[in-house]
Symmetry: C3
Subunit: 374 residues, 3 copies
């Protein structure tokens, strides 16, 4: 097994340490928006299977514990203690936390630092900051001003920004920078709709594009990356239009400005993402979500990543949200799948042990250290 | 090797038991619409190679028999005896038969029951029923009435319905229910064209959408699934638009009504299909056609399926059409590829033997029993 | 290891035998258009890793030589001697050379024959011939006349034609033959733009379609294939629209005329390309670029190819450009990956040793001999 002297999780979320019912626990193991059919359980799928294998022992159970035993033991320990054990077992050195999604339910940066013992830094979600600004803005123009000030302020303490444009409009949009007047007009329209017919989340492409270009300038100033959600997610994803190759025009804009773009998750577009890392000097990627959710078969995603992507362009993430289990599993899956591939390379004579170690170090921490300046 | 105490083939077709010339036999091994180039043979491809390996012994030949020997032996036994041996060797417990494609050439439900000894039930192809109704309808309105009555009648004896919308219009269409007036007008136009310039198969998106929504209501009443052809097929397939993620708007309509949608074949969209099974509570899928046609490398498709899809959402099919060989191969490929993956999981400690058996049982029969209510 | 008594590289380019700086060498290992970030090297990616493994010994170094040692040794030998050693080590029997890309930098047909000792034949790039014609044409009509004469003349000495329509317009265009008047008008417009605002490469879809149909007629006359670039390439590629299934309407036109279409590279559309080889009687494909660029994990691409494609429809290429290393690696990667898959098939009993050898021979040379009439 490859040793990981430092492991930087460049994309993850906080943990929900409250007591979790079985239904709530299963919901956090899933991208579904409705409960599974009666008699079925999220434990009977790839991530559920490896969770019982690798997380159960951390809670003092045998591997392959039944869902009933797992849930009971977790309750017995309490959400906080169970989460602490799992975070400590993971032992991830650095967590870069996306704080923009359901932040009321999960621990924040200091909370995660205390729970895990890791160094925790923040990644700011652009669209969440604009939605917050919209809560108090009286006009489109004021929305932009509030948003820009808030994003700059948040960025000053963060190590990167993130966009979920793929979720909100797909990548299949005009990718140029809108004029300020266009953005203000779009802001007026959004605020008016909100006032007239109740709050609606940010989905306007003009405003989102404005947010992306404001973010790009902050990334230039701060010399840090812009993260992009890619592919897999919940039912809001219009999959063919979340292929990252559709977003090349924007990525070329970022390349001119030397802003690293980090593509997240990438399933089922891992091959496309790896090709982009080959072609564009600023593109990086991870297969974090994919490694957890493909369970015992995660080697496939690791191979798609290592099969085209430059080693100096790949990153580690867990994409864990809510469950400390997913933080722990993320590390387990990454370490064992990377080790499996690299040790096969060494056995076949395709690379030396020293090179294998160097490759692992790049993906585990050196690339992230460089672009996030950690 | 995993034992399969019951195996439900939830999507297959009847067998042609007439004597088959070599040319006809090869045509049934292929999705091509023109014969292969001179000097080449369909036996020299993945499915042809494993057919000679696994079907030849059932007919009393050595494995790897030459195409010449295989064809000669099949002729010597006669189409019916050869087919019977292959169906009995397959030993599939239940066949759910799609009866809507070239039904004049192949055995029907009772014929297949007699040949195979299996329990055989029918899946009704929506578009075929509408085409039949068009043969006698005098107006669009009458077409709808005849179609609705015929589909309801056929559904009353069937265990599911099936649509080939992907073949006829692709998934890239308006996916809402048309009004009855719109459907009737589209029917008028189709009948008129047929009368004026000769019979043309159903390709009108409005009529096909009407068929889908009528079918959805019948699925609700009968509490059984709607099958959807996905991806791979003959030259009529416009592949990028047969990606099942393009059909999400319709699938959400079915989810609201709790109608299971079963995605068939799925190559090259197995990862996309598995993701849909993860996200939508009503989505099921198989990789039937793919397992046969990828031959010795079918483990790839099995891994893509098991790598993201919940185990309680996967199904078995052979998608066999015409050749009893494809029924037999379907079982062989499914059993050996599933066994290979599961035994590796057990060997790696990722799951217990008991769980592996339970997982196999879900995919082999338990999921199909539940949704088809067998 | 499978023996290859003849190996036909049906798609490759000439070699640059001039002295290469490290920067230039790395640029030739990459599809990127900007240099890698400081501190990073193209040797740290899949193709760079196997290059050091398999090419270093040919130049008298240990496997896994450092980039520094590799570059130094190459300089010491001189570009010509290093290239000769690598070409001779590759020992490819036949090179079909695409001469239409940056031909000033690389050896031509006689130069490659002398360097390699192989039989070298030419593949003519359609768009390059039209661009050459545009240098002297005074009108659209004259452009067509010059182009048609030049292409016919070039074709008379070549063994095939090639189009890079995917790069220039994507496959997502009207795929019918334009009228001569439409093509001439498009020619007038292009020449006018060139005269007014400086030379611009051929990107007009009408002219490119005209070129394709002129080429198709020459392919009929000469009974040889038309090659199509597919998928992977540099930043000009609009990936989703370079999916070969998007070009089916044109391919059906070629099928009617019995013109073989050979799909090149195919990443990330290998499964789609293999399906097209199954469905269309005239479609052939290779995974040449992919085998080199996926390095130690190239078995994936080989499996995607062999997992659906008829064995009588697959071809070998290296897609080497500039570096003799890529010619050598192409052979190494093809031979070891094909051997690995076939020997597993034999071990599993899925095919006999004789069949494995026959399959290898088809892909290594027999299919290319047949369609290129070598």
């Amino acid at each position: 097994m490859i040793e990981l002297e430092r492991l930087i999780d460049h994309h993850c979320h906080g943990v929900d340490v409250r007591p979790l019912s079985r239904a709530r626990l299963e919901a956090l193991m899933s991208e579904a928006h409705r409960p599974e059919v009666p008699g079925c359980t999220q434990f009977d799928k790839p991530v559920g299977m490896v969770m019982r294998r690798y997380c159960a022992p951390v809670l003092g159970l045998e591997p392959h514990a039944s869902p009933e035993d797992y849930v009971a033991r977790r309750a017995e320990l309490g959400g906080e203690e169970a989460s602490r054990r799992l975070m400590r077992a993971a032992g991830t050195s650095d967590l870069l936390l996306d704080t923009g999604h359901r932040s009321g339910d999960i621990l924040d940066v200091p909370g995660m630092a205390a729970l895990s013992g890791a160094s925790v830094r923040e990644i700011v979600r652009i669209e969440a900051v604009m939605e917050q600004a919209a809560r108090t803005a009286g006009s489109g123009e004021q929305l932009l001003t509030l948003f820009e000030a808030a994003l700059a302020e948040r960025a000053s303490k963060a190590v990167g920004l993130k966009s979920i444009v793929a979720y909100r409009t797909t990548f299949d949009i005009d990718q140029s920078a809108p004029s300020r007047a266009e953005a203000a007009a779009a802001g007026d329209a959004w605020l008016r709709r909100n006032a007239e017919s109740g709050w609606r989340r940010l989905e306007d492409p003009t405003l989102i594009r404005h947010g992306l270009y404001v973010a790009l300038d902050l990334c230039v100033q701060r010399q840090f990356p812009l993260q992009l959600h890619v592919g897999v997610g919940d039912r809001d994803v219009d999959m063919p239009k979340c292929d990252p190759t559709v977003f090349v025009p924007f990525i070329l804009q970022a390349e001119v400005k030397d802003v690293p773009i980090t593509l997240l998750h990438c399933y089922p577009f891992v091959q496309e993402s790896a090709w982009m890392a080959e072609v564009f000097s600023n593109v990086y990627f991870d297969v974090g979500f994919t490694l957890n959710f493909t369970g015992a078969l995660a080697r496939r995603a690791m191979e798609d990543a290592l099969g085209m992507g430059p080693f100096f362009k790949q990153l580690y993430s867990s994409d864990a949200f809510g469950l400390a289990e997913l933080h722990h599993l993320g590390r387990v899956q990454f370490q064992r799948m990377l080790s499996a591939v690299l040790s096969d390379w060494v056995a076949a004579g395709d690379c030396s042990v020293k090179e294998a170690d160097r490759t692992a170090a790049m993906i585990a921490h050196k690339n992230a250290e460089r672009i996030y300046r950690l």
